[in-house]
């Protein structure tokens, strides 16, 4: 594996895998700002195989695996000979809807991956109903960052739900992407979001255990909608098995839009 030094190396590798591809397949959709952050923090590594480029991102005690391949055969051959996939826990996300995903999981399962969890995307279309803006929710402050990250780490699965790194958390707080509710000086809950133009996505919505059933979650969600009055499309990913969360999101008008994320893992599940 080679350490990636510039975004250009990534784009070149993707272009090479795409060149002449008959059935190009990928799970790598890098957003430039995130890509730069991974490179700056030396988290991104790559391997090149005939007809395929593989990327590995270190995250806590495991790695995320991303691929760009000319077709399924190139992907399978690359996976079989990949040094980076031989050791250590690794996860990969296969995103798509319906039959578009059918051919990929078996390729990974033949290489020792196992189905770890499944996320589904929910969407809410249309202008949100907003309250009058009176709320004890506000943007998290710099000093809230570490506590907010701990709350996320304690509330979500690091292997399946793409948790932010400390520097991503710090950046999100600075960029006003994290709403917080505090009670008696303590962080009671947070809502971490990403907004682009007319679309916004909730990445994490969590309430600390001792503050549950005190309307902290609803305060956060209502404030989130209040400050996104011009947004037309709201999305989020939720664990398909988390009925409690899905019920809450449905209450706010979210519904499945058909997109699924199959998270597969190797080296961390008894086989």
């Amino acid at each position: 594996m080679s350490s990636i030094q510039t975004p250009g190396q990534v784009l070149d590798a993707i272009q090479k895998a795409r060149a002449g591809a008959a059935a190009f397949c990928t799970n790598f959709f890098p957003v430039e700002s995130k890509l730069q952050g991974w490179i700056d923090h030396r988290e991104l590594f790559a391997e090149w195989h005939p007809g395929a480029a593989f990327f590995f991102r270190t995250d806590r005690d495991f790695r995320h695996f991303y691929f760009c391949a000319a077709d399924g055969a190139a992907l399978e051959q690359g996976i079989a000979s990949s040094p980076g996939l031989k050791d250590g826990p690794v996860t990969t996300d296969l995103v798509g809807s319906g039959s578009t995903l059918e051919h990929l999981p078996p390729i990974f399962e033949r290489a020792g991956f196992r189905r770890y969890t499944q996320l589904q995307r929910l969407a809410r279309i249309g202008r949100p109903e907003t309250n009058d803006g009176t709320s004890d929710a506000g943007f998290a402050k710099k000093e809230d960052g570490p506590t907010a990250l701990r709350l996320i780490e304690n509330s979500f699965d690091r292997h399946g739900e793409q948790l932010p790194s400390p520097y991503e958390m710090e950046s999100a707080v600075e960029n006003h992407q994290v709403l917080a509710v505090k009670r008696s000086g303590e962080l009671a809950g947070l809502l971490f979001f990403e907004t682009q133009g007319l679309a916004s996505s909730v990445r994490f919505w969590a309430v600390a255990e001792k503050f549950r059933a005190q309307r902290v979650g609803s305060t956060l969600m209502q404030h989130y909608f209040h400050i996104h009055g011009t947004v037309r499309r709201f999305t989020l990913w939720v664990n398909s098995g988390n009925e409690n969360a899905i019920t809450k999101y449905r209450h706010y008008g979210y519904a499945p839009d058909g997109l699924m994320d199959h998270v597969l893992a190797k080296g961390m599940i008894p086989q």
Binding site: A21, F29, V95, Q196, R232
Partner: protein, 76 residues
Amino acid sequence: MKSVIEILKEIRPEFDFAASGDFITDGMLDSFDMVTLVAALDKNYGISIPGTDIVPENFQNVQTIEVLLRRSGAKI
């Protein structure tokens, strides 16, 4: 045959694509939408858009999509 705007509207009916000059910056299309759009364009125009062309700059607005379609052999 449907127009590009009609296809976009089928994928994301909540947005006014005719009013935008940059679908990506305006948040109207994400990476997953692009994959859906490519499949719809391929089917509608009887073409196969190359994988090398599935990049955000080719999906910024109706004009860039039409340039891509012509380059891919579509009669529009």
